[in-house]
């Protein structure tokens, strides 16, 4: 064609997909996906859902959340392990205690690839076999759920420079979502917390209360089930000193 002059032709050797042809399996998966699409049954992906951190449902992400990139997701079995050993009350962890997990999170490519120091970990908690953490990766903050150092779900949150503490006694909802299905399905929700917020609980629409972790200006919780990806699947109870407020998730900024 007329635009393809010599200099552009020369560039073709740099094309990373120059000899790329879809494999028969990729083609078959995609054909199956479009058949499901036409039948009105498609989800967002042709691949098994349990391998990706998907944002499910219309209320999946609060407006303030910047990004949802999931590069390694929980491998099959790990999510079930995390869910099976889950506890409603987390145990707080320090950056030193979760350094192996933080290093795995730092190296997973979500929001960049870095090496982790204990000081990069802003919030870390343990629920059963799963470690959850919010950590710094250069300019960005990311969250990771780890069952061991090799299996992680991870999501980019916001640039650290964009963090603005909410007004006294309040929290926001940066993101909530659910991932997986069946015995491996889990949800998480997190956001920024004012410095005077002492505790946060998540009350699920389906019953039950999850105690969130609160540290370094963030609150975070994860739990088995789908509520994180549903509109108003949970309410958030915020304690600031002797003041307690309750918010539907959709009402949180």
């Amino acid at each position: 064609m007329d635009e393809r002059m010599n200099d552009l032709d020369r560039l073709a050797v740099l094309d990373p997909a120059r000899d790329r042809e879809p494999t028969p399996m990729e083609r078959t998966r995609s054909e199956a996906f479009i058949e499901r699409t036409m039948a009105g049954q498609a989800t967002r992906t042709a691949r098994p859902q349990a391998r990706r951190w998907l944002i499910a449902g219309a209320g999946a992400m609060a407006a303030g959340a910047v990004a949802a990139v999931a590069i390694p997701a929980l491998v099959p079995g790990a999510a079930e392990q995390a869910v099976a050993s889950w506890t409603a009350m987390p145990t707080a962890r320090t950056g030193d205690q979760v350094l192996p997990q933080a290093r795995a999170c730092a190296g997973n490519g979500v929001g960049g690839t870095t090496t982790a120091n204990p000081a990069d970990v802003l919030l870390a908690e343990q629920r059963g076999e799963a470690t959850f953490l919010i950590m710094r990766k250069e300019a960005y903050l990311v969250e990771c759920l780890m069952v061991d150092e090799d299996a992680a779900a991870s999501m980019t949150l916001i640039e650290e420079s964009a963090v603005v503490a909410p007004p006294a006694g309040t929290v926001n909802l940066e993101t909530s979502s659910s991932l997986g299905e069946g015995d491996g399905q889990w949800s998480n929700a997190l956001g920024l917390a004012a410095p005077d917020v002492t505790a946060v609980e998540v009350r699920l629409a389906t019953g039950g209360t999850v105690h969130a972790s609160v540290k370094a200006g963030w609150w975070a919780a994860w739990w088995p089930g789908a509520e994180g990806g549903e509109a108003d699947g949970f309410t958030v109870i915020v304690h600031a000193g002797d003041r307690t407020t309750t918010h539907r998730s959709s009402d949180l900024p």
């Binding site: 560039l11 094309d15 997909a17 995609s30 996906f33 691949r47 979500v110």
Partner: protein, 174 residues
């Protein structure tokens, strides 16, 4: 042919090109999900798809990638990757030297220049089609392509002073 048959034909004709388009820009392990999202969008907006469907699908893919990867987009831009240097050219040959020069020149360009060049050189689009992908006028694309080619030529000839052309940043919001 009913709508479902036409959609299957669209998929058959464009799947490989779309997968390549996406894999040029994001890691391969994310590409398949993006392609699925593009076809889901295409089915929902089937009536909007023009006869020349490929640029329309590429434009949807580009927006999908931007939405799904905003976290690192802000830092890296939606860049076009380069083939690894493991490709088939004997060391010391003229081809190997030329390849090294070309890689160096490519790396010296802005992400915006690389995107413009790749739409033509890698994705095989005409200026009209590339303008559709970037949601800009053909004349705007032609101008960006001309400038990018000049900068590529300058980078391949380091003794030539770089033309003082103001960078185009508008493609990020296109």
């Amino acid at each position: 042919m009913d709508q479902q048959e036409r959609f299957r034909a669209l998929h058959r004709d464009t799947f490989a090109d779309l997968l390549r388009f996406v894999e040029r820009r994001i890691p391969a392990d994310e590409a398949e999900d993006v392609v699925s999202t593009v076809f889901l969008t295409a089915w929902r907006r089937f009536a909007d798809i023009p006869d020349d469907a490929r640029p329309w699908l590429f434009a949807v893919a580009r927006r999908t990638m931007a939405n799904q990867t905003r976290g690192w987009l802000r830092r890296q831009a939606l860049d076009v990757r380069m083939a690894g240097a493991d490709t088939h050219v004997p060391d010391g040959s003229t081809g190997a030297a030329a390849r090294i020069d070309l890689e160096r020149a490519w790396k010296s360009l802005s992400a915006a220049d690389r995107e413009v060049l790749a739409l033509v050189a890698f994705d095989g689009l005409t200026s009209d089609q590339a303008a559709t992908v970037l949601n800009c006028r053909r004349s705007t694309f032609a101008m960006r392509l001309t400038r990018a080619r000049k900068r590529l030529a300058a980078a391949l000839e380091p003794t030539t002073p770089l033309a003082p052309v103001k960078e185009q940043q508008s493609w990020m919001s296109a």
